[in-house]
Symmetry: C2
Subunit: 282 residues, 2 copies
């Protein structure tokens, strides 16, 4: 399948970064679509897109990339799926995949071909103003085909992922994606907020080093986007929160009872896991 025109729906942090990366790295014709006319002007001015289009012009695109929060993407598709040509490939960048793949997949039963995707990159600050053509450098891109997804469509999304700068493509089931992401990404976001709410937090200046900054960093999230993502993965995420609370309770017990042997042992377990992790990522 030959891709010439790629439409980016939603020019926020992710969509804007994708558009800029495509323009920087490829010769594709990049079509951009956003609800905010000021963002459209900026994207045009920056050369992030070749053209700003309206939903009706989606028919020109061979590949359509939905860069919207799950619910927003759903509402968009309900209204405008009809304009996307049957032979096109439709993909998304949402951080949850079971809900998206089931919902959008069934809407696309008669074409276009839907393939779920998720680039593992982000920033604390969203919006087009923070978009960056280098956002995906060294990132991994997860693609979540289902049994019926044709191989050529997966290949198109794979090439797209590499074109925007990702260094690695991981193929996974939507279920496996959601189970992993609950731990690697959603839990740290929940944790950052839970951590920074300690009453002593606001007096931390002068008492904090790297670890404070690391844990609290992603508390500055977009609550509308993230509430949508977290609730669409509530089963796996709740499980991970329970596991973390349980593990924290073991440390709590050893610390408050003054059981040094036990504390050394559980601290050691954590160290060994992290050292193995560091070795693997070399």
């Amino acid at each position: 399948m030959k891709v010439e025109n790629i439409a980016i729906v939603g020019l926020g942090l992710i969509g804007g970064s994708i558009a800029k990366a495509l323009k920087q790295n490829t010769g594709y014709n990049v079509l951009g679509l956003d609800i905010d006319p000021l963002v459209c002007d900026d994207a045009k001015k920056d050369g992030a897109v070749d053209r700003i289009i309206k939903p009706e012009n989606l028919s020109e695109a061979d590949l359509v990339v939905l860069c919207l929060a799950p619910e927003t993407a759903y509402v968009f598709l309900k209204d405008y799926l009809k304009y996307i040509k049957k032979s096109a490939i439709l993909t998304d960048v949402c951080g949850v995949k079971r809900w998206v793949v089931e919902k959008f997949g069934s809407m696309c039963q008669n074409g276009p071909v839907f393939v779920g995707g998720h680039p593992m990159a982000g920033k604390e600050k969203g919006g087009y103003a923070n978009s960056d053509p280098l956002l995906f450098i060294n990132a991994s891109y997860i693609i979540t085909p289902v049994e019926s997804t044709p191989t050529y469509a997966v290949d198109v999304v794979k090439e797209f992922a590499l074109n925007i700068g990702c260094k690695k493509v991981t193929i996974a089931t939507p279920d496996h994606h959601d189970r992993m992401i609950a731990f690697t990404s959603q839990l740290p976001h929940v944790l950052a907020g839970a951590y920074i709410k300690s009453p002593v937090s606001r007096q931390h200046e002068g008492y904090s080093a790297g670890s404070y900054c690391d844990v609290s960093r992603v508390a500055a999230l977009d609550e509308y986007l993230w509430s949508d993502l977290l609730l669409k993965n509530s089963d796996y995420l709740s499980k991970e929160i329970d596991i973390l609370i349980n593990n924290l309770s073991s440390y709590r017990a050893a610390i408050s009872s003054g059981n040094r042997e036990e504390l050394i042992s559980i601290l050691r377990e954590g160290r060994v896991l992290k050292e193995e992790d560091n070795k693997e990522s070399i």
Copy 2:
């Protein structure tokens, strides 16, 4: 008071970095003492110290800096305090201050003057091999005098802190230090281990971005040092673990019950706190 000779007891990550920073930034005579003869050889070879000394030679030092874990420092002082001259200043770099200040302070009632200190810097990997003269650049240094501590002694430690590269000195009571540090440093260390123990953690490759690395980073700690530090602050640390578990439970409840309004509200609270925090640190 005129300081000419500074003795560094323990040439690990912190002691080694202090010695190197002093040699790089000042004209003091730096005397080093370590239990490991290989470390002593390296420190001499690197020019991190002017001389390696034995405990008996501590009498030459005007300022003695204990760079040992609390219990080890205590054992060291029991044996060798007698060699430190009464007119000298003794300080430490331990991460807990109530226990240290009370214990060492009462041992030093007839001199030398003891002043508690804590540089807010570190690395996941300890030992002399990882020491770095730039470790304290941009770090804050906390000094915890008590009522009876003479001002000149605090000033000497303050100058020392600035000399090794710290950008800011904070004066606090031992109690306030320990309360803050439980949250800003000890809790993230406990958390890193508790987080990385999730069963899915070992399959994270391909599914992780910055937040996974940030939260898990400090799991690679020295369990002997850290068990000592955590247990000597068990009251404040247990309280912080409880607060965190409690906050996590609020997120858990909103997520598992699908209460989007509540979830948006608690996510927003976290974002606002972090944004205020970011503003303050600009």
